[in-house]
Symmetry: C2
């Protein structure tokens, strides 16, 4: 992958002004990565090969005895898995992984229980504490159905728990009931956890090659390990410069519909890491060319408080070449391919938006596959942490998430 | 439906300051609604009952001979239909309506062609001019598959065209090949067209009662016809006041996952209507409580340039009452319902966000059904037009959408 910032409307000199700040941010991130309270476990993450093998074995078991795996989790506990699974699956064939515990809507839950009623399924419940309301409720209801279908014992064999290594109600229940368990490391926060069992088990259960994701992530880890020529750091610098220039919204854009949930993952990563102390770029995502016919008008001519970052997937798996009658109004496409048309839209849009005063950054990816997804994950994680340091916020906490919970618990009468 | 603005942080006096402006905006909208160039045909829309019956008859034909209806359109040509269909369908059972021509991604198109290969399907292509690149390409490729499967004659009977009443390449082709056609009225722009055949045919083909949608829309049309006590106008005023106070982002939030595409429709409606002349509120949507664990941190403590509008669906179709062991950590839910928990989250979130400096407007809807969707559509359409007038922009044009097309055509070598 490559970073292209020729349309960012930022000079090399402006970037060089960050030389000292970047060295400081780099050491801040790389020092004391072993300090548990710093949540930096993902920076130089080591992959335990025995654990990876166990994940694959369990994933095979799930695939063999379950038509559906229900991932029960909210926020960082499911978004990474969903991002990867949707990026690497067919656009129209249904995935074998569904999601629950990421909302409290009664019709959603009832529809899911109906849907699962005549299907063989398993559950992967993912929660560090086990007490987060949304997944805890969904787990109770799904467990009830599982027991009704299979009895206590087989139900227990269909429940996979990803939680704290020793603390919390889920760990306790897993120990009592003999559920298979996986550990959420203490020093990795939810939104940085997709390369741990949190993400890897559901991804593997969806039939995706997690070894290649890990290879991609490791390659990125090495490539962005040093300050020099670091495109990941450069992206962090660019967005901080743009923010200071009044660009308060970053639109992540892609011409690949499968990246919808990857962009949702990105929104959590950056929004939760930087949106604090009354600061931060507001992260938004769009799917183009779809949304050029929706938000395109605003991007072109609305308030000038935004910039765009485009994830360009250069090559599709299968292209389509046009053979068009010369009398057709589409004859200009004859002999060209759909990918060429899609990329002409992309290039045309970048030109148009930049002329309209919207700086553009492009992240070019040769192909959307396991390896490049692994690279993208690490690229954005590290860029986000560095970007947070440049903004002078703590990119690893999320104190604001507690406020609504406190009010909610008051209304629910929880002591 | 009711508008609740007690948490908008706006006084009655501030609203009264708009009395004169609102009278002006109201007459601007209601005068000359017959002038074609004004695109106000939706304001006092009359429904031709013979045409509605024809839509239902054709929808029945599609349902009886097709497992799938592919809606081919982009922007306003599909978003309204998708918004309604997803709002009123099961969360997990697949809909019989799929979408194409809303992007140019080769893998998306190839996956769709594969998926349709062994299925009976029909096409509803929706385009005023017929030359918009995305739907025109998708229509060519899907028509090719249709002819391969059924031969020229039956293929022609499976193509339904919604287009201009006399002009354009689609109208010409339809006349030549004898496709069944529906008319996009001249005086209704794409984003205001869901209550015309543009939206109604696919919605009816999805098995949804379009008469009740129309009833809801008509009720809203009557309710918001006059300046006095007009909650629709009040919503327009509130957002203009908030915008002037520096709230440049409006987050439309819902605790109902089925409203995801309704919120996409809303984003186009407001973004395309107001995002011009370097002005306009940037429209964003979130699904709560899901996104409280993603963007919630930012909303609570990030830059204070945003406000929220919540669509509150008060009653689900089916609720779930909790029976929880008193030793469980969830015992605080015992005897309560999931809908109560979801609404406690909603109320808690509003309180928390308002305390954090984010004004909240709530639109309360008793139940999500055909009737209320019809009401909501008209409510937002009219609020949007009035809001645009208050902002002093033309809410019915979208000049900026042409810029990317011009650049794209240059790259594609179109003369």
């Amino acid at each position: 992958m490559r970073l292209d910032f020729e349309n960012s409307l930022i000079s090399e000199e402006e970037i060089r002004d960050f030389d000292k700040k970047i060295i400081k941010a780099h050491s801040e991130l790389h020092n004391d990565t072993t300090n548990i309270n710093d949540f930096k476990g993902w920076v130089e993450l080591e992959f335990d090969s025995a654990e990876i093998e166990r994940i694959k074995t369990i994933a095979d078991r799930i695939k063999s005895n379950s038509e559906i795996l229900v991932v029960v989790g909210i926020g960082g506990s499911y978004l990474g898995a969903r991002a990867v699974i949707e990026a690497l699956s067919n656009n129209f064939e249904k995935s074998n992984v569904l999601y629950a515990g990421n909302n409290m809507n009664p019709d959603y839950m009832n529809d899911l229980l109906d849907y699962l009623n005549d299907k063989n399924f398993s559950i992967n419940v993912i929660s560090k504490s086990g007490t987060t309301t949304e997944p805890a409720i969904a787990f109770e209801l799904l467990k009830e159905l599982l027991i009704k279908k299979y009895g206590e014992e087989e139900a227990a064999s269909r429940i996979y728990v990803t939680t704290d290594k020793e603390k919390g109600v889920l760990r306790k229940e897993a120990n009592e009931k003999g559920y298979e368990t996986f550990v959420i490391p203490d020093n990795i926060g939810g939104r940085y956890s997709v390369l741990t069992p949190v993400g890897l088990l559901p991804i593997a259960a969806a039939g995706i090659d997690i070894d290649r994701i890990i290879s991609g992530a490791k390659a990125a880890m090495e490539r962005y390990a040093n300050v020099e020529d670091n495109e990941c750091y450069k992206y962090a610098i660019l967005r901080n410069i743009l923010y200071k220039k009044g660009k308060k919204i970053e639109i992540l854009a892609s011409y690949e519909p499968k990246l919808q949930y990857f962009m949702e993952w990105w929104k959590q990563l950056f929004g939760e890491s930087e949106g604090k102390d009354n600061k931060g770029i507001f992260p938004v995502s769009v799917g183009y060319t779809t949304d050029l016919h929706s938000l395109g008008q605003y991007v072109q001519e609305g308030e000038r408080h935004l910039f765009e970052t485009v994830i360009d997937i250069e090559n599709p798996y299968r292209d389509i070449e046009f053979t068009i009658d010369e009398n057709s109004h589409l004859n200009y496409l004859n002999g060209k391919t759909l990918n060429f048309a899609n990329h002409s839209a992309m290039q045309g849009t970048i030109t148009a938006h930049v002329e309209g005063g919207v700086p553009n950054i492009v992240i070019r990816v040769e192909k959307l596959d396991e390896y490049s997804i692994g690279e993208l994950i690490y690229f954005f994680e590290k860029a986000c942490a560095i970007s947070g340091y440049l903004l002078k916020v703590n990119p690893f906490n999320q104190p604001g998430v507690e406020f609504y919970k406190k009010e909610m618990f008051r209304l629910l009468g929880k002591k």
